[in-house]
Symmetry: C4
Subunit: 271 residues, 4 copies
Amino acid sequence: MRRNVTTNITEMQKPKLKNPIMVVGLPGVGNVGRMAAGYLIEGLEATKFAELNSSHFMPFVLLQKGAAVHVINNEFYYWRAEKAGQRDLVILIGDSQSIDPEGHYEISDAILQYAKGIGVTEILTLAGLGVGQKKDKPKVVGVVNDASVTKKYKDSGMDFSEGDRVGTIVGAAGLLIGFGRKHGIDGMCILGETSGVPLIPDPKAAEEVLKVLVRMLKVKVDMSRIQKKVKETEAFLKRVETVQQNAVMQMIKQQMPEAAKKDEKELTYIG
Amino acid sequence: MRRNVTTNITEMQKPKLKNPIMVVGLPGVGNVGRMAAGYLIEGLEATKFAELNSSHFMPFVLLQKGAAVHVINNEFYYWRAEKAGQRDLVILIGDSQSIDPEGHYEISDAILQYAKGIGVTEILTLAGLGVGQKKDKPKVVGVVNDASVTKKYKDSGMDFSEGDRVGTIVGAAGLLIGFGRKHGIDGMCILGETSGVPLIPDPKAAEEVLKVLVRMLKVKVDMSRIQKKVKETEAFLKRVETVQQNAVMQMIKQQMPEAAKKDEKELTYIG
Amino acid sequence: MRRNVTTNITEMQKPKLKNPIMVVGLPGVGNVGRMAAGYLIEGLEATKFAELNSSHFMPFVLLQKGAAVHVINNEFYYWRAEKAGQRDLVILIGDSQSIDPEGHYEISDAILQYAKGIGVTEILTLAGLGVGQKKDKPKVVGVVNDASVTKKYKDSGMDFSEGDRVGTIVGAAGLLIGFGRKHGIDGMCILGETSGVPLIPDPKAAEEVLKVLVRMLKVKVDMSRIQKKVKETEAFLKRVETVQQNAVMQMIKQQMPEAAKKDEKELTYIG
Amino acid sequence: MRRNVTTNITEMQKPKLKNPIMVVGLPGVGNVGRMAAGYLIEGLEATKFAELNSSHFMPFVLLQKGAAVHVINNEFYYWRAEKAGQRDLVILIGDSQSIDPEGHYEISDAILQYAKGIGVTEILTLAGLGVGQKKDKPKVVGVVNDASVTKKYKDSGMDFSEGDRVGTIVGAAGLLIGFGRKHGIDGMCILGETSGVPLIPDPKAAEEVLKVLVRMLKVKVDMSRIQKKVKETEAFLKRVETVQQNAVMQMIKQQMPEAAKKDEKELTYIG
């Protein structure tokens, strides 16, 4: 009997979608991508249809007052085009990315295989671009997996000349479009400038990314609804951050009890 | 020839069980879950029928005076209902949980698949809830994997409104009920309040959990026998803790001899 | 295309052996097990017939003056019984054990499966027992995987009552006999008392283990030849230790260049 | 659904090659191997025909001004013999080696299996040999996987007597020739003396290795073109190094936000 859970996608429904674009927003710098995807799901009232679980996420469940336990996951939503010029959408959002390097490859591959299976021909990943300082008017920068993609979106108002400033994109936002090319899937990463502190959510940058995205996808999103969601998201993210830290600390203590005790003592000397 | 041992369950017997509930007590905060499960096994004189081994446990064997070597493992016990209102039980107890994040997923999956195979339809995991201070009368808190489970046990005296105080459940106690839902298995985690120091066993909290459990399962346990067992358990756990630390240190020294030597020198300066 | 090299055993010959005992000596505390196995191979002029490679060993090759590159491995030797009362032997020796916890399980399983395939019905693992100080007359302690094994060797002069002093056996020496039981293989770990510094080889303790082993196996080993071998082994082990440290350092530097530079600077301050 | 991406080789073309020699230059000490292989590709105008991706590389994509995203990879090039005495060549070059010990085994195995499939019967790996100081005239040292290989290249001007000074070869450069032997593939590692700081590229040592290589392979390379390439390579490598450090830091921050914050604070005290 051999077991390796690794990465699983479970479908609640099998929506028939026509040539969908997949939008991906996972945790990262300033949480820009995750928040922008959340606002899009909220604004379009998209429908959840599948979940991704992975052995590469933190091994714990989250709890909220009166609610059932929630296993850390990524979730797929869909939205159907309502008029000409629009396209069906798949939106992938999540609590977490892989906590180890290998998992980023495995999860990105699982997502790509699944996306291909449901007909996705284009992927837009959303992310933050750390620029070291807060900006009143954050720019939105685009990088592509093929020169032809740039042409398609040349009127979106994005800056496509900043690749070397970006330098590197860590995790799924980069790998999905990098490997997407090998599957014949057009890909772009849309990055909103943010100060760059990873876990201080930057809703302003997320809003700028959303504005560009809405223009590209030719969809309408009620921005006043978004404002309310921004507040809720911030509170939730702060919570996840705290429990994640506590969980990491708890795991460390269980495995290295002496180290933990020593650490506590040392912390006392500092305070 | 490729090998990955990962997680195996070996059966010593194949008991036919009728719609059993599985109770799970593994090491964790205050060792509350493990001890409560141990008292239940002792009190019911349950019978061992299967063992779980995993590459995600510490790679060593334990030794005791005059005894054969014991490989670190988790063990399944069963107990048959003796009168109306009771249900057959499977009790899972163990020396260890996974020492790496991925292993928690793999082991939880192995347990769930096996539990389903022997007919388990409900899982009760036992754990400690760190509250930062010792309490004279520790509360017992319940969190569920589906709202319907709360109703079933509304008279158990547990507090079901504390989910947000719990925040997160690390390891098998959380994942078993979180993923249990996906297998159609009702799940609840029963948490006994404890001060929260991971490796100082809290037999008082374990006793409170046991009392709630006994009421839920409508079984009788001789509490005076338990008192004796509490003492033995504490001595054994202290021993495991010490050898585990020594083993970790030995592994580190083997791999990084210079680091170890440096460490020893530094320790001398401290003392 | 998916690949996982993990653990492979390559056979150079397929010797037909009659009911062999397997003796295992791998690196560990005081290098006692490895040295004792080496002396036995030397003394019996045993023949190499198989090699074990693993992704869980350090990823490098060793070089010696004028010789071809040597991949880190474990090696199987055999020796045929020459007279009544003796048994055919398989001797497993090696440069390394797993460098990560999971690998210990995988490698032990690979060895056990292979041992079973070639008819092994009994395993004797050799190891050091750290006692914190040098002893003029180191004792040899035995621990077993089944009470019946103790009886068989009750006249060997080993102390079988010290299990709780041993406490734990890390790595293959423990797992091979622990899991051996599940395969119906009798197992014993023979531990020579040593000061306990992992990488200072203790040839004296190795010799004591060898003396017990020779008595158990009813074989003759020319001890004067061994003395010469002791010297060579020590020089080789010292070399392996040095290159292993350099290799670890080189890997760290490649992956974390800045950390390495910082480290070098700090080392300068110390010196 | 189980997934493990691990290591994949994707072919863009399937060139028919006659008994090719494979030359391998991957990042390492002084980047000597990678640069020498790069100069050879440039000098021979070799053609790219396959790519290797691995879950054991850093999980990010690289970006350059105006270019599409580049997934970290290793690349295979070929060059056909143009006159008698020459042999077809396969040249393997890459951005990265495995970032964990196990990956070195997996990637080396993937390369060897692939090399065998396209008919490779000999492997020359290129690497740097750290000697602790800069040398005006760096020597080139050869180590082999079989004594017969030394004979074949006895007129190449390499020093084959320095194995014990080399001591150990970490990663693919060592494993490819070490395991190559088991596949019946002749192997040699050609090491250029360099000061030994891993990430300060040493183009001088790379040039010395190239000179020996050109003599062995009986090929002509325009050295003036190489000089220009040297400059470009240095700039690119410096860039990769910087983004790699930033990426590592970003991953650490995402996983351990508190640790990162603490680190920032401490850095401030230092500055």
